[in-house]
Amino acid sequence: MGELRLMKGNEAVAEAAIRAGCDGYFGYPITPQSEVMEYLMAEKPYERTGMVVLQAESETASINMLYGGAGTGKMVMTSSSSPGISLMQEGISYMAGAELPAVIVNITRGGPGLGTIQPSQADYFQAVKGGGHGDYKMLVLAPSSVQEMCDHVKLAFDKAFEYRTPVMILSDGAIGQMMEKVVLFDQIPRRTDEEVIKQCPWASTGRPKTRNHNIITSLDLDPAGQERVNLKLQAKYKLMEKNEVLYEEIQCEDADYLFVAFGLSARICQKALDLARAKGIKVGLFRPITLFPFPAIEVSNVGNRVKGILVVEMNAGQMIEDVKLSVGCKVKIEHYGRFGGIIPSPDEVVNALEQQIIGGKS
């Protein structure tokens, strides 16, 4: 049993990074995630584990520091919120192209533009469908508790190195700011330079005479070569779809209706589920934990057993597209969303279920 603490989601992310053996954090302040770097600076991880923490001049610089650090095989992480993540898209695309492992934590807020500092899930498309230029995907994890904020950091690093890919933790301002109890995993020692070189023979760590020089790049001017790069990436994404899907089913066994929701919306739906069941409505909750790879087969299996599905998101309807593609058109699928930083109440979610799905209005 690890150490039990009461923490903010943002703090749990920071503490988990130290404990996961992260080598470097590079970030830029933005609400509602600034506690990540504040916690790290106060914790002095360079004394605890030797981890580097650096405040960059912009999100553009942070993501490119991440690219540099990852290019040498080190475990690196950044965090930001929606507008800052938009600025990072160039670097994320480069890292996907160069096949570099890194963890990017996105504590989203409402947009578009400067939007609001309140929580939102309006960056699902950006996170899941690519975001930057070119055909690439990231593995995307959607924690719905402070415990998962902690655990997903470790998981994200593991998968980033397993697949040599950037991994995004897509959370939101509410989970980042709320305090819950969290069981922290024990400190994992940082790898030595020798271990890094052994684990990452592809990395630019300085060329010994015993091997050719390593080049980290996303450039291949030969179209045939660049097509090979793309095919390799696509094969990797297929493998993720096969092996890395994570999801949670709550009371789906006897359900007549289904909520599908991720992250904070799933927490709200848990309460809405209790309220609905108290009224005699048998509703279940399907929560995708990986947004890419999306649990398509799994949601389809559950979704095709029920009379109707309400996809609840704090956006104008983004994940619903993946739910519809997965479940097909035999089952009624509706969306309920609030935006701009509004968090829907469980009551209004139950009301939406009754109105849009059970009542048949849409």
Binding site: Y67, T205, G206
Partner: protein, 265 residues
């Protein structure tokens, strides 16, 4: 076969007085004949070979004419996005503090799109070496106006010459960063004559030696020609560079041992 290779005694190791460094990959450079990049590459690799630090060196290449530098330099390298090399180098040096880390960047990369990364890496005093090739033009994309294009100088996006009132002034980024306390050594050199090549090599060596001592950022500008972009022969371009570039971008040390050289103040 040339006459000298017909003489076997010249090929004896003890008789070799000058040879190509082994740290340049044996393949044709992608640069135009007459361009200074090849010479700058060679000086950089000669220094790394002489210091025997190949195993401890990580280079960051830019976007621009030298985007493929990693194909020619036989060391571990990372290709940066346009302008971001100093951010990459910052992390690489922080992650591997006993390694030698350098960026190799052109004027568009370093002084336009990457200005923020350049200035902040300099201001943090990152213990890296920045090699800055200034030829006053975007060579790779076909000769557009650069931040360092001289007033009145023609380019494909200033076809009637750089009009300062509407296009702004050329940016003396090297003088600008020399005033930052994180920067320890700043010099401006050239590679168009044997004498200048020797001075450039000496400056690169000095910068790498200073990295060992963690003195702060060392910045070497190399004013170079772009005969293709300037639409001149290599010889004409070097003459034009001496007559026009050097009066504006004056060669010599700008900051030594953390102190500004008198003339540059």
């Amino acid at each position: 076969m040339t006459e000298q290779f017909a003489k076997p005694e010249i090929q004896k190791p003890e008789n070799i007085v000058y040879k190509r460094t082994d740290l340049l990959v044996d393949r044709p450079l992608s640069y135009c004949p007459g361009c200074g990049h090849g010479t700058a590459h060679r000086m950089l690799m000669e220094v790394i070979e002489e210091m025997d630090i190949q195993e401890k060196t990580i280079g960051i290449s830019p976007v621009g004419c030298s985007v493929l530098a990693y194909d020619f330099l036989d060391i571990d390298m990372i290709g940066a996005a346009h302008g971001r090399a100093p951010a990459l180098a910052t992390a690489v040096k922080r992650m591997w503090p006993d390694h030698f880390v350098f960026t190799y960047q052109g004027d568009g990369d370093l002084a336009a799109i990457g200005t923020a990364e350049t200035i902040h890496a300099c201001n943090r005093g990152e213990n890296i070496t920045v090699i800055f090739i200034n030829n006053g033009i975007y060579g790779m994309t076909g000769g557009q106006m650069a931040p360092t294009t001289l007033p009145g100088m023609r380019s494909s996006t200033s076809p009637y010459g750089r009009d300062v009132p509407t296009m702004g002034h050329p940016l003396k980024i090297t003088e600008l960063i020399s005033h930052l306390p994180g920067v320890y050594y700043v010099t401006r050199q050239a590679v168009h004559t044997p004498g200048n090549v020797r001075k450039t090599k000496k400056a690169i060596r000095k910068a790498f030696e200073l990295q060992k001592e963690n003195k702060g950022l060392c910045f070497i500008e190399i004013v170079s020609n772009c005969n293709s972009g300037w639409k001149m022969t290599p010889v004409q371009s070097n003459k034009w560079m001496e007559d026009n570039m050097f009066p504006f971008y004056e060669l010599g040390d700008i900051k030594v041992d953390g102190k500004l050289v008198e003339a540059a103040k």
